[in-house]
């Protein structure tokens, strides 16, 4: 649970907890600090070599961030006196402190983090408010309307679509509405298996608190340590275990949202209703442009009895994709199934901690021998699927067998539980890596898309090739690292997640170059029949493609909703439309 001063716990200029980060220790070996993660305190002996080989980076060339925030760099807070008086009257806590405001002026896009490290601030919120309940939010929105202010709702701050960036040209006072203090579970309805939760609650807290009553939501996006329920609703989030629990749109039963027009809600909490277009779908994915989500009723499930990880090695990516397609076709996908390409497999390998005993190392060698020599897999081509099964012990085992049987048909070989578990653990840790890279002239980012099954391979290949080509054209000296994984399977397609990073030494404006390349990659995705976004959202980063994505008329429909709900553009973060 976060206090108001989040920067005491979390990095002000990077991802995650202050105490957790990758460093190179005195021996020059990579190490992950802190005790929060399984990888914490472990030495990663091969990682340095991997970085040097993959990026042509050298540990001697370091680019350092500013150690702390220089308050003088920060634009002053401009707040109307009358509003301040009214705000104080409501007894809602607020802050005009520079550190508080800077923390809420950014998400986690590369350019945002880069700007923090360089100490460049263009426009940040003028004031941060901390409502503690629905009524507080109503009051704030009323005050904003009265004093003509701009409100930008702030949940977990993990946006990667520039959604939290303040529009530079915004002349009104910008109020950052931090929902973090609205973090209670209001009630749990065991008969209907629903829970009503305040929207500011962070994913891991929600799961922890529900677990105390023996329940879970099963919604686990990779950012669940920091992202909030309200944020999930506002961006149409997707969780790792959606195969069992569903994505956010499947989980939500009821939403309460405060808008400048008033409060939107339904009259009942039912599984489904036929009352015209579902108003929830105006709210989900609205990205803070219509109002503030305050309370959400969400489905809950009993905590599963049994969990089991697994992994399968495939001779190549094509076979792996074919297998995932078959699994999706037979609708027997485990809670999570992901397929990483060879580059990411190697990357995961480089993050292997020092082995504890000779025995494990020997076993590793044996496995490697079996896979590469005996089965004839090429270590530079093979790819790995990681699996997570959940449910009754018996059913899990049965399910497991079914999936492995399918995998065998596609040349897959079971590669052990441990590899699977490590794979999932890495997804939480990987986000910390960018901060390390930034120290050594390496910039990187991830992006995602969804695509029909028959285009998955073409899309992956073409996007990677496009990135390589663009890098070359833009003068990037070393071949970029670009890798992808299929992270979700659906009946009709899959979600593909890309990582992309390069060494920017010798480039004068790396962020600009980076953005051009990312834009080219997105163009490529669209040309290959992929979507603009699967779950990251549009924000301001991908706005330019909205018209192309949903047609003129479609965009007009959304605009007319915005015009009705928020005619004075109080929620003026300029996302989406």
């Amino acid at each position: 649970m976060h206090g108001k001063a989040r920067q005491e716990l979390l990095k002000w200029n990077g991802w995650g907890y202050n105490d957790s980060k990758f460093i190179f220790n005195k021996k020059g070996q990579a190490e992950f600090t802190g005790r929060r993660y399984r990888l914490g305190g472990m030495v990663l002996p091969t990682f340095k070599e991997w970085i040097e080989k993959t990026f042509g980076a050298s540990l001697e060339h370091k680019s350092t961030s500013r150690a702390s925030l220089n308050v003088n760099d920060v634009p002053p807070s401009v707040v109307n006196e009358e509003f301040l008086r009214d705000l104080i009257a409501t007894k809602i806590s607020y802050s005009q402190d520079a550190e508080d405001r800077v923390f809420r002026g950014h998400g986690h896009c590369l350019h945002e983090i880069f700007a923090l490290r360089e100490g460049i601030f263009r426009r940040i919120p003028d004031i941060v408010v901390w409502p503690v309940c629905h009524e507080d939010v109503v009051k704030i929105v009323e005050l904003a309307c009265k004093h003509s202010l701009c409100i930008i709702p702030f949940g977990g701050g993990t946006s990667v679509s520039s959604a939290l960036e303040c529009p530079e040209e915004e002349k009104r006072t910008i109020v950052s509405l931090d929902t973090s203090q609205m973090n209670r579970i209001l009630w749990i309805d065991e008969k209907n298996l629903t829970a009503c939760v305040e929207a500011g609650i962070v994913g891991q807290d929600l799961e922890k608190q529900l677990a105390e009553s023996g329940f879970c939501t099963g919604h686990e996006p990779d950012s669940m340590e920091f992202s909030s329920l309200g944020g999930w609703v506002a961006t149409r989030a997707s969780g790792m275990k959606k195969n069992i629990y569903g994505n956010i749109e499947d989980l939500v039963i009821h939403i309460k949202m405060v808008t400048p027009r008033g409060i939107v809600e339904k009259n009942c909490q039912v599984p489904r209703m036929s009352t015209g277009p579902d108003i929830h779908h105006f709210i989900m994915g609205s990205e803070g442009t219509l109002g503030v989500v305050t309370e959400v009723t969400i489905k809950i499930r009993p905590v599963p009895e049994y969990q089991k990880y697994g992994s399968v090695v495939f001779p190549n990516f094509e076979r792996g994709v074919a297998c995932l397609r078959e699994v999706a076709k037979q609708r027997c996908a485990p809670a999570s199934i992901r397929l990483v390409d060879n580059a990411q497999f190697q990357f995961g390998h480089a993050l292997k901690p020092q082995v504890a005993s000779i025995f494990t190392s020997f076993l590793d060698g044996l496995k490697k021998f079996y896979i590469t020599k005996f089965k004839g897999f090429d270590p530079n081509v093979l790819c790995v699927a990681t699996l997570l099964f959940e449910g009754d012990r018996e059913k899990v085992l049965q399910h497991e067998k079914q999936v492995y049987d399918i995998a065998t048909k596609f040349g897959g070989l079971a590669a052990g539980e441990d590899n699977g578990q490590r794979g999932y653990m890495l997804t939480f840790v990987i986000a910390y890596l960018r901060d390390l890279g930034l120290d050594y002239y390496i910039i990187g980012e991830s992006f995602e898309t969804s695509v029909p099954w028959d285009r998955v391979l073409d899309l992956c290949r073409n996007v990677k090739e496009r990135i390589a080509r663009e890098c070359k054209e833009k003068g990037v000296q070393f071949a970029p690292f670009s890798t992808c994984r299929v992270t979700q399977t659906y009946d009709a397609g899959a979600c593909v997640y890309f990582y992309f990073a390069f060494n920017y030494r010798g480039i004068s404006d790396p962020i600009h170059v980076y953005e051009q390349i990312e834009r080219a990659a997105r163009e490529e995705i669209l040309a290959n029949g992929g979507s603009l976004s699967h779950h990251h959202g549009v924000g301001k980063l991908r706005k330019r493609w909205m018209k192309e994505s949903i047609s003129d008329v479609g965009l007009g429909m959304l605009r007319s909703v915005k015009e009705y709900v928020d005619p004075n553009n109080i929620f003026g973060n300029k996302n989406l439309l």
Binding site: R455, D458, L459, R461, N462, E465, R466, L526, G529
Partner: protein, 859 residues
């Protein structure tokens, strides 16, 4: 107003595909004559060469039958089959069979054997038909790069049937992946040739199949499958058919839009379109076209027609220029032009009519490609002269023709035309200098200095002016120049007459006594008819000098006969006589230099072998990859390969560096990766001596004990290389021997002798030396250039020289100096030594060596 409309038009169509080209001085790179090497070395070896082209993304090529099956079972074709079955009520099995039939009719079945067959025959035919086949090397390098990156579509201009074969021939020569070629189905009417073409990579399309959906589906999928898989470059003619008038025809769009589709659907990342301009000085079918255009119906393509066409083999069709253009990236062309949506909303395997956007784009690209073809068409002097002549029928003054042609040349250059003009003054000068080497006194070997001195003298008297590039006569200089050229003219004309006599009248062999009256008669006749004014040609002085010059130039062979010298005209390129010497030294076992006992049989340490061959001196100075001399120059691309000079760099590039240069992996060990051909020191082997097995030459009358075949056997690390030789001989076997024979059509004496040679060595194909002192003579590789007894001089001691041993051409392989046309070469070397073994002891005695080459005709 008009401008506004034009601007609007442009805005609608996006950026123009074709922009105003630069008209002046375009850098187009140098041409290289690929026939040159063919004229110098064996066609058979060329046809049998190790052919391992680079292919797209390192994919291993799949069999033609696998492609057919992939096409038949593709979603695209299956979908159409199901649709048709639904509509017609016929069972889908029957339609599937029909589809298979279409595929069988259409599909190519490329086989290396057929390719080699073509490589061989086409070498022969092209050498006869054309003087030169010139290719821009740079374009070939670009193409090689392109083939590795993305699927490639070759778009040659179409003037002649030769286009088909020429391009494949070219790619084979440069070790690139052979294209599959869209050919008209009418070729299938030609019995054997149709099948041969099919095996060389042609696939056949019906001339019209608009209504036949099954055919369309199968055809389109066939082409796309080959393209998508990067199986081979796809080649077709935008013009659809041969242009009968040598003007480019308006493009056809069907095939072009098929090859573009995989990119539009993003099944491939990009596709390269390569415009190729093939310019002829004279087109093979010229008279045929004329008849056709006058309404005489086009004869059906038939094999007998082709055989009749053989008579053209005796004609001269000048030079072909092939300009391989810059590969054009379809992705780049399409960027900003194509709305991506239409293919996203329909499953990709459904047949879909291209949107208007795309149709317009395809058409623009087609025109752009044709314009690029036209832009790089090469104009030769003869083409320009012909154009001038056409406007001055029925005849015109020669001087005027020259003047007009030069004027046209200037005009063409102003218009940005691409002209190849053979006008190097210096090369003319040095040719004439060689011709007149017996007429005037030149100090040997300084022709450049002579040339410069001449230029200097002429400049001094204001007859010419020189700039960096050009030399041109001045107005004032005309007096000097016309006087000097008049002085020189009798010699020029005299020699010309003599040469004319030799090429028309002279017999195969003649003596000087026959020659002089012959020439005199010939000149008399011409003088009488008034065809020449050159009385000087009657002079025996000029006649003798001219003959001596021809002997010197190697065009006439001079042989000493009992009754003086005879001369024979050397019709073919004569053996390049190399200075070869052989020395005999018969050391007794006990001598001052070497120990009595052989050295211990231990292999030398590997490091020592490496030390023998440093790629770098200890000082760090790089050594030339080819010759091992100091190499101050480096390859501009990889910056790692060092050379002594541009000649060896060019040589190494052609010999294989172009393949390794671009490969980053190869670049790492480039420094020591010495290409096979350029060992500075020859590798060491042990020679195994074995008597020749008696049964092997069944028809031979040799006493087996007398003759020993000597075989090499390398130490273990050489095994690989020996195996490589083995696989080459396998390749030789895989080509049907009879086919080759049949194709040679006529069997000459030479062929028989060469056949015999092959039979004899078949038992021990690795043999390098045949030793049989005084016994049966050598086995010859050719009937030509066999020495007679009197050709072998006696030893200095007065004794006769007798045959001792011969060195076989296989040795070249082992020494890795078998690169054609570049390294030393022989058919066999025969060594004759003193019958008396004179001068025994610790000294060297020169003996006699006779070199015989593979006859140019038989191989």
């Amino acid at each position: 107003m008009a401008a506004a409309a034009a601007a609007a038009g442009r805005a609608r169509r996006g950026a123009p595909v074709y922009s105003q080209k630069e008209l002046t001085s375009k850098k187009r790179g140098e041409f290289e004559d690929i026939l040159e090497e063919r004229r110098m070395s064996s066609d058979l070896r060329y046809a049998m060469k190790c052919y391992a082209p680079v292919i797209y993304k390192g994919l291993s090529p799949c069999k033609p039958s696998a492609i057919k099956s992939a096409v038949l079972h593709s979603e695209q074709v299956q979908y159409v089959i199901r649709q048709l079955a639904k509509e017609t009520g016929e069972s889908s099995d029957i339609i599937q069979e029909a589809a298979m039939e279409i595929l069988d009719e259409m599909g190519h079945s490329m086989q290396l054997g057929a390719v080699r067959f073509f490589a061989f025959t086409l070498s022969k035919i092209f050498k006869r038909l054309f003087q030169r086949v010139c290719v821009n090397e740079e374009g070939m390098q670009r193409l090689q790069q392109a083939i590795q990156e993305h699927p490639v579509v070759l778009l040659p201009s179409h003037r002649s049937y030769v286009d088909f074969l020429m391009l494949s021939y070219l790619l084979y020569t440069y070790d690139l992946a052979l294209p599959v070629i869209a050919a008209g189905i009418d070729f299938l009417g030609m019995k054997i040739v149709g099948e041969l073409l099919r095996r060389a990579g042609a696939f056949f399309m019906r001339r019209s199949f608009g209504g036949n959906r099954l055919y369309w589906a199968v055809f389109a999928e066939y082409v796309k499958t080959m393209l998508r898989n990067g199986y081979a470059p796809v080649e077709f003619f935008l013009e659809g058919t041969r242009s009968r008038t040598a003007k480019t025809l308006t493009p056809k769009f069907g095939l072009l839009s098929i090859v573009m589709e995989p990119f539009f659907k993003r099944e491939v990342f990009d596709t390269y379109l390569v415009p190729i301009s093939i310019s002829y000085e004279r087109i093979l079918e010229e008279s045929l076209y004329a008849y056709e255009l006058l309404g005489v119906p086009k004869p059906k393509e038939s094999t007998s027609g082709l055989l009749k066409a053989r008579r053209i083999l005796s004609d001269n069709f000048g030079t072909i220029h092939i300009y391989v253009g810059q590969p054009v990236s379809l992705r780049t062309l399409a960027s900003g032009r194509i709305n991506r949506c239409p293919y996203n909303l329909v499953p990709r395997h459904l047949p879909q009519k291209p949107s208007e956007d795309i149709q317009e784009f395809v058409s623009d690209v087609a025109y752009k490609m044709e314009l690029l073809q036209i832009e790089n068409m090469v104009l030769s002097p003869w083409v320009l002269a012909a154009a001038v002549l056409l406007q001055n029928l029925p005849a015109m003054d020669f001087e005027l023709l020259i003047e007009k042609t030069l004027w046209l040349k200037g005009l063409t250059q102003t218009f940005g035309g691409f002209i190849e003009w053979p006008e190097e003054v210096y090369s003319c000068f040095s040719f004439l200098r060689d011709v007149f080497s017996d007429e005037f006194i030149f100090f040997p070997g300084i022709s450049l200095k002579d040339f410069e001195e001449g230029c200097f003298l002429l400049t001094k008297c204001d007859a010419i002016q020189t700039t960096q590039q050009e030399i041109y006569p001045t107005d004032k200089g005309s007096v000097v120049i016309s006087f000097l050229s008049a002085m020189f003219r009798p010699f020029l004309e005299g020699y010309q007459l003599i040469f004319r006599y030799l090429s028309k009248e002279a017999k195969a062999a003649f003596t000087e006594k026959q020659f002089i009256p012959g020439v005199r008669n010939f000149v008399f006749q011409l003088l009488e008819k008034g065809n020449t004014q050159c009385y000087e040609a009657l002079s025996s002085d000029i006649q003798k000098n001219a003959l001596a010059a021809l002997v010197q130039l190697g065009a006439v062979k001079k042989k000493k006969m009992t009754n003086g010298f005879t001369y024979s005209i050397n019709q073919e390129a004569v053996n390049k006589i190399l200075d070869m010497f052989v020395f005999r030294n018969q050391l007794p076992r006990r001598n001052d230099t070497y120990p009595e006992e052989p050295p211990p049989r231990e292999p030398p340490p590997a490091s020592a072998a490496a030390a023998v061959q440093p790629r770098r001196l200890r000082s760090g100075a790089a050594l030339c990859r080819v010759c091992g001399c100091l190499g101050p120059r480096v390859c501009g691309r990889c910056r790692r390969a060092a050379y002594c000079g541009p000649e060896h760099q060019a040589l190494d590039w052609r010999r294989g560096h172009r393949r390794t240069c671009a490969q980053p992996g190869a670049a790492d060990d480039l420094e020591d990766a010495v290409p096979d051909h350029n060992e500075f020191l020859f590798p060491e082997y042990e020679i195994l001596i074995e008597p020749e097995e008696p049964e092997s030459p069944a028809d031979s009358s040799v006493d087996p004990d007398d003759e020993a075949a000597i075989d090499t056997s390398g130490n273990s690390d050489k095994q690989e290389e020996l195996r490589a030789t083995g696989s080459a001989s396998e390749a030789l076997e895989s080509l049907d021997e009879e086919t080759l024979e049949a194709m040679a059509k006529h069997e000459t004496e030479d062929d028989k002798i060469f056949q015999k040679f092959k039979e004899r060595i078949a038992a021990e194909p690795e043999q390098i030396i045949r030793y049989c002192r005084g016994g049966e003579g050598p086995i010859w590789v050719s009937g030509e250039n066999v020495p007679e007894e009197k050709d072998i001089p006696n030893c200095s001691c007065g004794a006769k020289r007798i045959f001792e041993f011969q060195i076989m051409p296989q040795l070249l392989n082992h020494m890795k100096v078998d690169s054609l046309g570049e390294s030393i070469d022989w058919g066999t070397l025969v060594v004759y030594t003193c019958a008396n073994n004179c001068n025994e002891g610790n000294q060297y005695t020169e003996e006699f060596i006779w070199k015989q080459d593979f006859s140019a005709g038989s191989m």
